[in-house]
Amino acid sequence: MSRSTRGIVSYGAHIPRLRISRAAIAEAHAWALPGLKGQAKGERALCSWDEDAITLAVAAARDAVRDNGRAAPAALTLASTTAPFADLQNAVIVASALNLSTSTQCSDLAGSTRAGLSALAQALESGAEGDALVVAADRRSAKPGSSQEMQFGAGAAAIQVGEDASLAKYLGRESVSHLFVDHFRATGEKHDYYWEERWIRDEGVAKVIPAAVKRLLAKTGRAATDVKWFGLAGAPSGSDKLVAKTLGIAPEQIIPDLASNVGDCGTAHAPLQLIHALENAKPGDLIIVAAFGQGCEVLAFEMGEGTHRPATGLAKSIAVRIPETSYLKMASFEGEIDLEWGMRAETDVKAALTQHYRSADQINAFVGGRCKVCNTVQFPRLPNCVSCAAPDSQAPFNFADELGQVATFSADWLQFYLAPPLYVGLVQFDVGSRLLMEIVEVGSAGIDVGTRLSMQFRIKARDRKRHYSRYFWKAVPVR
């Protein structure tokens, strides 16, 4: 098969629904840092306590792979600088949630916010058989009162690449490795340390990016005026316009920087900008996306005729939002303040890793059972059928993509829960099954019996003694 058709076959995106108003952040700091008001425009994506790079990645990846008409990816790379585990492959957790085969080649890529595009380039240039799924996800943390706290966001982009790619053809890549330390975060540290933006923009971005883009255009035989979509991530605000001007790319070809409504998503940012282009480009359009960071990564694509689009994608993921104005809630979710949650919070949530391994498909991939005798679907998958009690009767049945509705519920203010109240209730799946679940992202719209629900992979419990997050599925109102 010719390498020339390798490119993008599908994509998916996920932006957490919570959006904190930047005015609320600035207002909270106004007593000490009145200058932050200057940045208090729009809103940024905010993760709840139970979202992290892995859960964001799973949501975007599911969006990308669902009904995309391709065989399951043979490889999965997770790019993130905020993945929860330093030694436990984060990509494998994502793959397990997607119920991918254990023969899937999984790897983590980190070290720089450009890693999203680096991972994508590596997958596109890999000679390996089969499709590769590249997921970039970050839940970015910033020091309270910093500019980054205003600018950072959270989100994930998933891009499946392979041969016979009809969505977008890969044209090439320009990679620059250059030790320009605009910011850093030492291993184990929580926050980034940034140098002055003006220096980063003028001495770093303005010198590195245009040159790299020019080389890539030359390699691919295109001119700057051919560029229909140009995105730049990892650079100070306004850098994209500056670079476009230098290159002679018209301002209207610049892909939105997502600053006003999402914030900087780290490794996911450039891939998300690429997705914006994929959602809006016409066949034949030239797309260039660049990520700045110790040099840069620049990738070029030509939009194809492919028509597959994900169920959610970027625009819809941005549109479905729950406005938030409590800075203290944000500070708590970010772990910047530790509220007194009372003695109920002392309950040990240590997981039995042996049990977790035995029931890995149930817990990670939400695979319950379907009775081979009476056909009843059920969760958990136990030896005897819940309906007919037939022994050893359960064939695997995956609940992850099933829809349901609220059968019963309550909002629990007593139970220790980091985002009170805890909404809990019986979810009635359309396939004819029920399960007691956490219901998250209720928002001011509330829920009642009959509210439609879909499933999301989230943090089930954070073992604060052993620093181990474990995951399960929660129900989210369909909005």
């Binding site: 009372g342 003695m343 109920r344 309950t347 949530v349 997981a351 039995a352 042996t354 049990q355 977790h356 029931s359 149930q362 817990i363 009843t376 059920q378 969760f379 958990p380 136990l382 819940v386 309906s387 009690a389 609220v406 059968a407 019963t408 519920f409 309550s410 909002a411 629990d412 203010w413 007593l414 139970q415 220790f416 109240p421 805890l422 809990v424 209730g425 019986l426 009635q428 004819g432 099954s433 029920r434 399960l435 007691l436 679940m437 956490e438 009642d448 019996v449 009959g450 089930k460 419990a461 474990r470 399960f472 599925w473």
Partner: protein
Amino acid sequence: MATGIKDKVAILGMGCSRFGERWDVGSEQLINEAFTEALADTGIERSQIGAAWFGSALDSVNVGNSAIPLTTALRLQGIPVTRVENMCATGTEALRGATYAVASGAVDIALAVGVEKLKDTGYGGLPVPGKGTLNDLWMPYCSAPAGFAQLAAGYRARYGIDRELLKRALATVSWKSHQNGVKSPKAHLRKAVTMETILNAPMIAEPLGVFDCCGVSDGAAVAIVTTPEIARALGKKDLVTIKALQLASSSGRESGMTEWDGARVPNTRMAAAAAYKEAGIRDPRKELSQIEVHDCFSITELVTMEDLGLSEDGHAVQDVLDGVYNADGKIPCQIDGGLKCFGHPIGATGLRMVYEHYLQLLGRAGERQLKNPTLGLSHNLGGVPYNGVAAISIVGLM
């Protein structure tokens, strides 16, 4: 062919500790307090007890595992003692074990003890116990009120009842029990509470406010049982006998399948049907003199009125508002104040309920004595409405 337990076993004596925040005593003293009263009531010697069943649900805040905490507390040397735990049905389970032992002829006299010391947790409400290594991986950790509050959502949806009306009926359930609790010297909460206070209380688990939840208390209760023949031989004239002891446990259908309407507790219905049959009760509305039901939360009591067949389905709200279950109503419910006023030291509750029937049936209930009661029903509901254990015991005059 099973013939059931009716009238095969008599209550020789009962005892109940004062319930409440018993900062002054531990489980051992609570057990001793109830046991001393019960033993004095029987007129027998401790050495005549042939076997014991010990109910205690939460070992994390209690006396520890096994029979040993009971045998040590009461210095019961060498007799068979079994610890039982079945969530909120634990106390009733202790009674069941002792009753069956006597009925089988294995022993002449058996002891049932239930205790819980909840106020050693350091906080209000019940601790959240582990649910098993597999369930812990997926099951939401929710509080007990949030488990039961779901009945309210289900009930509203099933019968099209608006939130305010249901909330008022729930408040009435609690209001009635607080009225009754005033006359219970051993109750934890002995103050009447206004409807307004109940309706405006802080939310615990929607729609349940603080006053929709039972108290959290320490307490112990004890029954000593024997055969009617031995009881008579020991000089007892008015005999209170066990008429029925039934238990129904969920297999996961309600929470795993779609047939449950969320507005009833099928286990209670199954246990009640079996208990009525065992006791020979055809019309519980006419035959039951009084009931003690598991009012862990107001919604539980309301739904239980239908599950026991005392209110028509969908009519409990109106019956509650009409005062059917008040002290002066057709079927007094929680005449001693119920879990609402006694609190719910889990291991003790089932036995505490039977203790109230025992006092009423023997005319010993003081200020709250009902007129000529003949039959009392107790009901416990452990776990959650959609996955739990329902226990029914019926006692009456022989």
